[in-house]
Subunit: 121 residues, 2 copies
């Protein structure tokens, strides 16, 4: 009787929240974007992601690896070297992130305007 609203179905909302907890943290998206296309080493990511600490970079990468979004390959040379890269699943996520980016760019100005209107009231 009520509307379909399939989107609101419990499990579906839970899934969305899951993704958001994955990419909604402070650094995951940044790291994923830096891994776009190429493989990168730990320090490289550290520098590119600017004020991230090693601790958080490490934690972020572990989370992403756990979910099968990045691969971690260790070469036991001296000094040690570790490469990170996106998996196919990570790449597919990056595509969704691009959608997000598109929406953000298209609406940034409007949102800022809306905010100042709201605040000055």
């Amino acid at each position: 009787m009520s509307q379909p609203a399939e989107l609101c179905e419990e499990g579906r909302l839970a899934l969305i929240r899951d993704v958001l907890e994955r990419i909604g943290d402070k650094w995951s998206v940044v790291v994923i974007c830096q891994l776009d296309d190429t493989t990168r080493r730990f320090n490289e990511l550290s520098r590119m992601s600017s004020p991230i600490t090693k601790r958080m970079l490490s934690a972020t990468l572990q989370g992403l690896e756990r979910d099968g979004l990045v691969t971690r390959t260790v070469y036991d040379t001296k000094p040690p070297r570790v490469d990170y890269a996106l998996t196919p699943r990570g790449i597919s996520l990056l595509k969704v992130v691009r959608e997000l980016a598109g929406w953000a760019e298209a609406n940034a100005a409007g949102i800022l305007e809306s905010r100042s209107g709201y605040d000055a009231r």
Copy 2:
């Protein structure tokens, strides 16, 4: 000389983070989904979003209104009545959220598998 990597450009990453802070909080997406298509009253949203507290619902709605994603219309009847609905901008965001939902559904199984593999190691 280095790769284009337009996606990683500073401002662009900042925009993405902005969106994520908007929809990455605990309740925004839930509320937005419940507003899909129709206008809803405060208590209606409160019940539909299950264990959300009034405090958080109020805060979430204010945030969404501030960004021009939902409208708030007050009828001064007795007892009071307030209706919330998505703005066009909110609807456009909902579309992006659907993309997210699609990705989540398509990858949920794989991610769970990847996790258990990672944890059992």
